[in-house]
């Protein structure tokens, strides 16, 4: 493979990861506030279909993206209402919405199956796009891919470098303490869940109007990305930078699977296609195993030198969720 094809391939990886990047950032923000939005898989499908339908009927791509965000925000509003106001299980409500939104997208999207519609075009940035290698990698994308780059850093800045971001961490970690400091915990959770939902909703049109333009119903192959994005959120340790890295890693593995298919002819193509899923389980195992009791006991039994190395390794990989994730907050 020539250097040229590799660079084009890698640039494609960055672009095709954009929808997952949005979904991971949206889920990260929502979970940072203490609310798991488990509806993600259905939300992405419904906003992909809805975004495409709106862009197709209005012939306006921007409206399509806005429609996707609105759909994501509305589904998140249901999650927020059910879990914050009514204190029902976030997992139960989210799971039901994941299935319902998926079926709704297939039902309502029926007339749009395979219809050609508008799609985003690449906008090379002048000068920057001409830089060898880097230009090709980063500056010859469509608008939504650029926005995904910017969103990663903005989300990271907001969570870790601003006062409201500190408060956001507070309502997910120690809501009681945040409340004493004057935060309206439940209102903030509503706001962040809805913002997170809108970002998740951006993932849909990022598929249907850009990376996988069009709506193909059950054969769109979009079913499953939401679940992947959920586990990438965990892999990313609720940090937008590490989460985005996870999204790129996933897209890279998918690309690798495609590239390797003609080389590894003895490996059936079905195995390569689902390879990301066992890898996902494996990475979750790696980031979680440090929390297991038996691992701690095993570590304690090791000689000093080896223990230090293993402990360091485990600590580097380990992630822990926000302490109050999934726990409703009630003022006493």
């Amino acid at each position: 493979m020539s250097q040229e094809t590799i660079i084009i391939g890698l640039a494609g990886v960055l672009a095709s990861a954009a929808p997952i990047v949005f979904a991971v950032i949206g889920e990260t923000i929502s979970e940072r506030a203490g609310v798991i939005n488990l509806s993600m898989n259905g939300t992405i499908l419904l906003s992909a279909m809805g975004g495409f339908a709106v862009a197709y009927n209005t012939n306006n791509i921007v409206l399509g993206f806005l429609a996707g965000m609105l759909i994501g925000a509305l589904v998140a509003l249901i999650v927020a209402f059910a879990s914050i106001t009514l204190q029902q299980s976030q997992v139960a409500v989210g799971f039901v919405l994941a299935l319902t939104c998926r079926d709704l997208s297939y039902f309502l999207g029926n007339p749009y199956m395979g219809v050609p519609g508008p799609r985003l075009q690449a906008v090379p940035i002048p000068f920057l796009g001409d830089i060898p290698i880097l230009g090709q990698l980063f500056f010859r994308h469509d608008a939504i891919t650029y926005i995904s780059f910017i969103a990663i850093f903005l989300a990271w800045l907001w969570i870790f470098r601003t006062r409201p971001g500190l408060m956001l961490q507070g309502i997910g970690e120690k809501p009681a303490a945040a409340y004493i400091r004057g935060a309206n915990v439940n209102l903030m959770r509503y706001v962040y869940t809805i913002i997170g939902g809108a970002l998740i909703g951006l993932a849909g049109p990022a598929f249907s109007l850009a990376t996988r333009a069009g709506w193909m119903g059950t054969i769109s192959g979009l079913d499953g990305f939401g679940w992947i994005a959920l586990s990438i959120t965990i892999f990313g340790g609720w940090n937008p930078l590490r989460g985005a890295f996870g999204a790129y890693l996933f897209a890279f593995l998918q690309w690798l699977g495609l590239v390797l298919q003609p080389v590894l002819t003895q490996v059936p193509s079905q195995v390569l296609q689902v390879a990301p899923f066992p890898l996902m389980i494996l990475t979750l195992l790696l980031v979680n195993i440090g929390n297991a009791e038996w691992v701690e006991r095993a570590l304690a039994a090791m000689p000093e030198a080896t223990r230090k190395i293993f402990a360091k390794l485990l600590r580097a990989m380990r992630t822990s969720p926000p302490a109050a994730l999934g726990v409703p907050f009630e003022r006493d």
Binding site: L38, I78, F81, A82, T85, L86, Q87, Q88, S89, V91, A92, V93, F95, V96, L97, L99, T100, R102, D103, L104, Y106, F107, L108, N110, P111, G217, G224, W227, L230, S231, I234, P268, Q270, V271, Q273, V274, F277, P278, M280, I281, L284, L285, N288, I289, N291, A292, W294
Partner: protein, 345 residues
């Protein structure tokens, strides 16, 4: 107590009415008359004996899966991996059948072995999720989901690889098994009374397991409060594993029924999403085993009835999924509204 039940019923009826209201609005939004859609769905499931038999065919795996899920829910686990457990049940059943294809064993014995094999297959797949959860700290939702995708890939790999039809492999599945390997059917209908009996036995066993045994009591204690149960000396993680194994065995039985009584071979979509649907049924009945039979029957009827929609009205059959989902959602919301505002009244 009596009054409490009545209020509950009122809330649930309100949820049912609201759900049908919302779905009717969705139908109107695509210019389809709701009454016509509902009539077609009803006729498509209860209109003829042949169609009702199809409903029962869908009811069997759905009831078995729901029965299994009642066990994992009781122990506080979200076994989304149940779909993969159904698939592995079907794969293991197919594997046992293939082993005995040319044997002189009595066919009845082979069928029994195949079903037991299916239950083992489901239980082993569930145990994987359990091991990931107990020893690896991987939440059962994610472990289970990942394994669902792996299970489906495994099916396709087997159908197109080692178990492919001689000559051409196709999405229609493996070579059908000889007739004597199939559970006997009811006259000329597609439903096997044996499959129906096994499904009903499954839910009865789970009902008594949860209501009448020490095991069930401890299982529920673990589910209600893991830490307190541990402090009381209940071997908590062992109970988590037991509940995965029981659920996996029942889901595996569902997969076995799909092979032994319905398709007589392994096909790519052997589970047809019954695992996910079972989760909805279990949530809707609020984990009470007695309600599993009527609600699973209702959901099966919606699924079969919706097959008519694309044929007669050019609508997508996913309407049944929308209706089921909206219904469960409203029941959950109604329960929340009742807890929040009913208390004050």
């Amino acid at each position: 107590m009596m009054k409490n039940r009545l209020i509950n019923l009122v809330y649930q009826l309100a949820a049912l009415v609201l759900a049908f209201g919302v779905v009717s609005l969705i139908l109107l939004s695509v210019d389809a008359p709701p009454s016509e859609a509902y009539t077609n769905m009803f006729k498509g499931s209860f209109g003829e004996m042949r169609k009702f038999a199809e409903v029962l065919v869908a009811f069997v795996p759905l009831l078995l899966v729901t029965a299994g899920l009642l066990v994992t829910f009781s122990s506080g686990l979200w076994n989304i991996g149940v779909e993969g457990q159904v698939v592995l049940g079907a794969i293991a059943t197919t594997w046992v059948y293939r082993l005995f294809l040319d044997s002189d064993l009595h066919p009845t014995l082979i069928i029994i072995l195949a079903i037991i094999g299916g239950m083992f297959g489901g239980a082993i797949w569930a145990a994987l999720t359990g091991i990931l959860k107990v020893f690896g700290g991987v939440n059962e939702i994610f472990g289970g989901l990942g394994l669902n995708f792996v299970a489906t890939a495994l099916t396709i790999y087997l159908i197109f690889g080692p178990w492919k039809r001689p000559g051409v492999a196709s999405m229609s599945g493996t070579v059908p098994f000889p007739d004597e390997f199939s559970l006997p059917l009811w006259q000329n209908l597609r439903i096997s009374p044996w499959a129906l009996g096994i499904a009903l036995a499954g839910i009865v066993v789970v009902y008594f397991l949860l209501q009448g045994t020490y095991f069930g009591l401890r299982l529920k204690a673990v589910g209600k409060n893991f830490r307190a149960a541990y402090l009381l000396g209940i071997p908590t993680w062992q109970y988590s594993m037991y509940s995965f194994l029981v659920c996996g065995a029942l889901a595996g039985a569902a997969g076995a029924m799909q092979v032994a009584a319905v398709y007589h071979r392994l096909i790519p979509s052997i589970s047809s999403g019954y695992g996910y649907l079972g989760l909805m049924v279990a949530m809707l009945i609020n984990y009470q085993a007695l309600w599993a039979v009527p609600v699973a029957l209702f959901f099966a009827a919606l699924n079969i009835g919706s097959i008519q929609l694309p044929i007669i009205m050019k609508l997508d059959s996913s309407l049944s999924g929308v209706l089921q989902g909206v219904l469960v959602l409203f029941v959950l919301l109604a329960a929340g509204v009742r807890q929040k505002f009913g208390r004050k009244a």
